[in-house]
Each structure stands twice: as structure tokens, then as C-alpha cells.
């Protein structure tokens, strides 16, 4: 995934290409109709197998991926990412879920999704999130930020001493996550902390990386329970 984010060149040309993966046809059509004009929906998939095939065949820039999907080996959205990502190097995944359950979300994030938003988000919000992902940023919902704070023990006062430490958040990252958990947008976070939006995005990406790579026991426990490791 990180290679893909490093070079957002080829695929993201004029229109942002999107693939919608959701087993609910009403939801797919609804979302499709609501997305911005600047987003070009290449196709829709309803199951794990279908999604993998379409991702590899169409090479969309962003896949809006439901966490819960039938088919495949039963791994849902995470399985799609694990199987399809190596064969679609420029494709980024944004997880969509009706669930706030932390293990659902963390499973797709750890599989490589670049962010997570809830399905009650409006078409404009989804479009915005897709663009953000296309720009190489991570998309964190307040819930996800809250979960991150919880899982990394940030509220208990644990902070990382070096930027290389994967199992704890730095003080600044904790602050950013706190504000996102309060419903602040990136811009508002930047304004509150007197830093640039780019810096906020850097922090969020760093947190996402920690979320994906950390071996912190809370995360590992979830990952183990979901057979991710």
C-alpha cells in the first residue's frame, strides 16, 4: 500500500476512478447517485470474489469497500484488500461500514485500507474522503480516532518517545486524534493546534501506519481473533 501512496501518478489523471464494493444493491446505487461529478464509478461488486476480479481488471484508483462482504474465504473486506492489493498496485482502499465495532474496522485497516467512514456519511462526505485517500492521506472518522486513542493507551498517559516507536502515539498525534474524535475536520484540527493541514495529514498518516504495523497487544489480540496474523 505504501508504494501506491508514494506515487499517485498514473491512475489518478482527470477523473478519480472508483469501484463500489457492497453486497447491498440499494446502497450501491444510492451511493453511486450521490457521489460527486468528479468521481467516475467504474463498476460495482457485491461479493469478495467479484470485488477481487473487478479490482484487478479495472484497476480503479479508490475502492469504496464494505467491511462485511459475502463470498471468498469469509474474510470480508479485509480479504479483498489482501488478495487484490498486490495485483493492483495503484489502487487504494477506503473502508465503509455500518458497524462501529472496533475489530471490524481494525481488520480492514490492518489489511491495508487507507481509512474508514461510516455508511451514514453523505455522498459529499464520501466523495471528499475518496479524494483525500487519492491524495495519499488517511481518512479517520471520529470513532476510529477514539478507537486509536483507546488501543494505544493514549488517555492513560502513554506517549512515544521517538517517532519510530510503533506501539505508542506521540504527544502531537494524541492531540490530533483527540480533536478528530471530537468531530473536528482536518482543517479545524490544524486551526486549533496552529499547524498546517499538511502537518495534520502527516500525523494522521503516521497514526494509520502505526495502526497497521503496531504489535501492540490490544491490536494483536483483535488481529489474532480475526485470523489476520
Amino acid at each position: 500500500m505504501s508504494e501506491a501512496t508514494a506515487q499517485p501518478g498514473a491512475a489518478a489523471s482527470a477523473a478519480l476512478t472508483i469501484l463500489i464494493v457492497d453486497d447491498h444493491s440499494i446502497f450501491r446505487s444510492g451511493l453511486r447517485a450521490d457521489l460527486d461529478a468528479g468521481l467516475q464509478v467504474l463498476g460495482e461488486a457485491a461479493s469478495v470474489d467479484e470485488a477481487i476480479t473487478l479490482v484487478v481488471a479495472l484497476q480503479p484508483r479508490v475502492v469504496l469497500l464494505d467491511v462485511h462482504l459475502p463470498g471468498g474465504l469469509g474474510g470480508g473486506g479485509a480479504e479483498v484488500i489482501r488478495v487484490a492489493a498486490p495485483r493492483a498496485p495503484h489502487t487504494l482502499f477506503l473502508a465503509l461500514s455500518v458497524s462501529d465495532a472496533a475489530d471490524d474496522v481494525v481488520s480492514v485497516i490492518r489489511a491495508g485500507a487507507r481509512g474508514y467512514i461510516t455508511k451514514s456519511a453523505s455522498g459529499a462526505e464520501v466523495s471528499d474522503a475518496a479524494r483525500r485517500v487519492d491524495d495519499g492521506d488517511a481518512v479517520f472518522s471520529p470513532k476510529l480516532a477514539g478507537f486509536v486513542l483507546d488501543a494505544f493507551g493514549a488517555v492513560a498517559g502513554e506517549t512515544a518517545d521517538t517517532i519510530d516507536e510503533l506501539d505508542r502515539l506521540s504527544a502531537r498525534e494524541t492531540e490530533v486524534m483527540r480533536l478528530i474524535a471530537r468531530g473536528y475536520s482536518y482543517k479545524e484540527v490544524a486551526g486549533s493546534l496552529f499547524i498546517s493541514i499538511k502537518t495534520v495529514e502527516t500525523h494522521v498518516s503516521a497514526v494509520l501506519r502505526k495502526l497497521q504495523l503496531s504489535n501492540r497487544h490490544e491490536l494483536t489480540a483483535w488481529a489474532l481473533a480475526r485470523k489476520l496474523l
Binding site: V98, S120, V155, A156, R182
Partner: protein, 471 residues
């Protein structure tokens, strides 16, 4: 048969009397007499002491298997003059004095029978254990008495017979306990199983050893008998294992079924509700209804069965409840994010102040209102932020009590504080309620590796790096 808690020595006589309905004094006398017959009584006493379980500590369950005794006793008490067994104290001493060195309590064996007359449930269907034990005891007694009197008793057969009977009785009780699902102490189970095992083996071997002229057939018979005996003793344990396994499997199946239903509802109904909200726009009636339904369904699906006790609700649940109530009346949607360990008992001041802040946000701002609850070693912090027109405390007329009285003053009284400031990016309003761990009392305990806040922390001392930077 159970040994009562109040006892002279081991409570065996009292328990036996209780169980059979015989007067306890008669039982004690019989025991003494038996003891004089070559020590049989003492042996029996010791054996029963070891093998008969004590009555449960709570007096409510004291006399569970003993309807007869429980019925009989009060009536006897009520008529102290009715010669058979008056209040045990005066009648008993000549017999029991030897058993009772301290004599602190008058007639403890009987006194223990102060069981509530209401508990008449029998735990066993057929008193096989008692019958077997009874037969064993009876045989023992008769044999001993008879041999004392000079009768020719085939001791070689009778003694092992008694032992085997007793062993079988013990084993049977294991079965009975298992059937009744009664929880046993592991030690009691072990003692009893070992006792039964030893008794059965010894008894059967005795047959063999004391038999005349051992030949191949007696050896084979003894071996088979020992194996059978062991099997009988071990069977209850095996049965228990099998039952545990079946229970576990059933529980797993139920869980799987529930998960399947949850997954199905998750995929269909929740999606549709999300879609309705998305299509209808945040302020519409349809969205509100859909949201309420979604919340209910979600709670049912993921929170498991609703907690029965309504008096102690954790803070997050309480906030969710308040959210849904307010959402029903206003075009607002609360998004609650909780971080940190849950607060098991919602502090009243925080809930009340939060309700007021949420109502304000819903009434004046509407739309999406963010609730952020952070619990940690420092205490509770709850932020309610909206994107409405916003307000300033000093601009609020003095006669408007909402904010000042219901939020600020309430939090101050509880030892916390409330802060009002502009919302995210200077838009709207944010109310931050803080309650230090010391004031919260029941606040998240045992989760703080860094150490909890010192008891005397002033309310405003909670560090909040963000707040100092807001314009």
C-alpha cells in the same frame, strides 16, 4: 443427609437425626451404645463425619433435602412438654457430655435446626444413597450386636458386604449430585470419590482375601469386581465431563445462531436504515426515525441482552440513552465517541449537566453534535460540541439559568468544572465537562498505570493542552 453447621463434634448425630426424623438424643445414645460394642459406633461416626457433606452456610438453604424433619421439628418445639423429645438441652447432657468439652452452646446439634419452614424442595428423586447407607449401618449394627451376644456370624461375608454397600452409596450420591446439578467443592468431590473408591476396592478384596481356599474363579471374580467398582466410582466424573461438553456445545451453537441473525440484520436492515438517513438528510423526520431504529437495533445486536439492573448504568450507556431521547424531539444527531475504560456508575452531575448541554446543542444548533467522552486516570472529561451559531457565557442574560445553573454550577458542586468555548474551528459551541477522578469517586479505577490523580487535585487542575489555544 447433611451435617448441620451447629454441631457438637462433627454434627453427624444431629445430621442423622435430622435426616431420619428420629430424635437426636436417641441417635446419640445409639451411637454411644454402638461405640461400646467394639467401637463400631465410633468408627461409623468417624466415617460419616468424613463422608457426609456439611450443610450450606446460608440458613435459607439449610434443610433443603429434609422436608420430614423440617416439618416435625417445629411442632415438637411448640410442645415442650410432650415427653418424646423436649428442648434438647436438659435431656441430652448425660449422653453428650463426653462429646462436648466446651459446652458453650446449649444443644447446638438441635439448635441448628432453626431452619426456615419454607424450604421444602427435595434435591434427589429417590433416596438410594440413604437406603444403601441405612442397609450398611443396619447390617453393621446387627452384626456387631449379634457377635457380642455370641451368635455365629459369617464376618468374612458381612464386613466386606457392609463396606461395599457404603462405597456404592457414596458413588450413588455422586450421581445424584450430578443429576441435581448441585455445585460441589472440588475437595469434597475428591474426598468422596476417593472414599468410595477405597471402600469398594477394599470391600471386594476382603471378599477375596477372607474367602476360603482362593482359587482361579475367586481371583477372576475379584478382579472383575474391583474393575466394576472402580467404574461405578469413576462414572459420575465421566458423566460430568460429558455433560459439561454438551453444555458447552449448546452454548456455542446458540452463540453462532445469534451471530448469524446479527450478521443478517446487519447486512440488510442496518444498511437500509443508513441509506434512509443518507437520502433523507440530517434534519428530516425520516432520518430521525431511521436513526432511532438503527440505534435500537444496534444496541440489541451488539450490546447483547440489555442489562437488567437499571440502578447502576455506565456512563456511555446513559449518554446514549439521553442522546436517543433528545434525538426523538429535535433534528439533531449525536455522535458519541468514548475513549478509555468505561465508568461503571454514571456520576449524576455529569449526566445531568451533559443532558443540559446536549439539549442546548440540539435546540440551538441541531445537525450533528459530537460527544466525546474520555475517561482516564485523571478523571472524566466530556465534550459536547456543535456547529450552530454558538454562544458566549457573558452574553447570556442573567435570567437564563440553563447554562449557568444547570451546567456550570452543577459541575462545580460535584467537584468538577464546566468550560464553555467556541466549537471546532471557531464555529458553534463546545461545552467541556470535567470531573477529576477524586471527585468522581467511582471513576475508572485500576486502569491507570501512570497512577491516579492525587486526592486533593483541584477541579480546574486537569491539564487540557487544547483549550489554552482556542481563540
Amino acid at each position: 443427609m447433611l451435617r448441620p453447621r451447629l454441631r457438637l463434634i462433627g454434627g453427624v448425630c444431629a445430621g442423622f437425626a435430622e435426616h431420619t426424623g428420629l430424635p437426636v438424643n436417641a441417635v446419640r445414645t445409639a451411637t454411644l451404645l454402638l461405640t461400646l460394642c467394639g467401637g463400631a459406633g465410633a468408627l461409623l461416626y468417624a466415617w460419616l463425619w468424613v463422608t457426609v457433606p456439611s450443610a450450606p452456610a446460608g440458613s435459607g438453604r439449610f434443610a433443603t433435602p429434609l422436608p420430614k424433619a423440617s416439618l416435625a421439628r417445629p411442632s415438637r418445639r411448640a410442645r415442650p412438654g410432650s415427653g418424646t423429645a423436649g428442648p434438647a438441652g436438659p435431656v441430652e447432657p448425660p449422653v453428650t457430655a463426653r462429646f462436648e468439652p466446651g459446652d458453650a452452646e446449649p444443644a447446638p446439634g438441635v439448635g441448628s435446626a432453626g431452619d426456615p419452614a419454607g424450604s421444602f424442595t427435595t434435591t434427589r428423586a429417590a433416596p438410594i444413597t440413604e437406603i444403601l447407607l441405612g442397609v450398611a449401618l443396619l447390617t453393621a449394627g446387627i452384626t456387631l450386636v449379634a457377635s457380642r451376644l455370641g451368635a455365629e456370624i459369617p464376618l468374612a461375608v458381612v464386613v466386606p458386604g457392609i463396606v461395599v454397600l457404603a462405597g456404592a452409596a457414596l458413588a450413588w450420591r455422586q450421581f445424584a449430585d450430578i443429576r441435581s446439578g448441585e455445585a460441589q467443592q472440588a475437595s469434597a468431590r475428591l474426598v468422596r470419590a476417593l472414599g468410595a473408591l477405597v471402600l469398594v476396592v477394599v470391600g471386594i478384596l476382603l471378599f477375596f482375601v477372607t474367602g476360603d481356599a482362593p482359587n482361579v474363579w475367586t481371583v477372576v471374580a475379584a478382579a472383575v469386581a474391583v474393575l466394576l467398582g472402580v467404574a461405578v466410582v469413576i462414572a459420575p466424573w465421566l458423566l460430568r465431563q460429558a455433560r459439561d461438553l454438551a453444555d458447552e456445545r449448546a452454548a456455542r451453537e446458540r452463540e453462532a445462531e445469534r451471530a448469524e441473525i446479527a450478521a443478517h440484520l446487519h447486512d440488510s436492515v442496518l444498511q437500509t436504515l443508513a441509506l434512509i438517513q443518507q437520502k433523507a438528510g440530517p434534519h428530516s423526520e425520516a432520518a430521525r426515525l431511521a436513526r432511532a431504529q438503527e440505534r435500537e437495533l444496534r444496541e440489541w445486536l451488539f450490546a447483547g441482552t440489555p442489562t437488567g439492573s437499571s440502578d447502576s448504568v455506565d456512563l456511555a450507556t446513559e449518554l446514549r440513552r439521553v442522546s436517543s431521547l433528545i434525538e426523538a424531539d429535535f433534528a439533531a444527531h449525536f455522535e458519541l465517541v468514548t475513549v478509555g475504560p468505561n465508568v461503571p456508575e454514571a456520576p449524576e452531575a455529569v449526566v445531568a449537566a451533559a443532558r443540559e448541554a446536549m439539549l442546548n446543542a440540539a435546540r440551538h444548533a441541531g445537525g450533528t453534535v459530537s460527544l466525546y467522552l474520555e475517561t482516564g486516570p485523571r478523571g472524566i472529561e466530556l465534550s459536547v460540541s456543535d456547529r450552530g451559531p454558538g454562544f458566549r457565557v457573558d452574553e447570556i442574560p442573567a435570567d437564563r439559568h440553563g447554562v449557568r445553573e444547570s451546567i456550570v454550577a452543577r459541575m462545580t458542586r460535584a467537584g468538577g468544572s464546566a468550560l464553555l468555548r467556541p466549537g471546532p474551528g471557531g464555529v458553534g459551541a463546545e461545552v467541556v465537562l470535567t470531573l477529576p477522578a477524586a471527585a468522581a469517586g467511582t471513576a475508572p479505577a485500576g486502569t491507570a498505570p501512570a497512577g491516579t490523580a492525587p486526592p486533593g487535585t483541584p477541579a480546574g487542575a486537569i491539564e487540557r493542552p487544547i483549550e489554552t489555544r482556542t481563540p
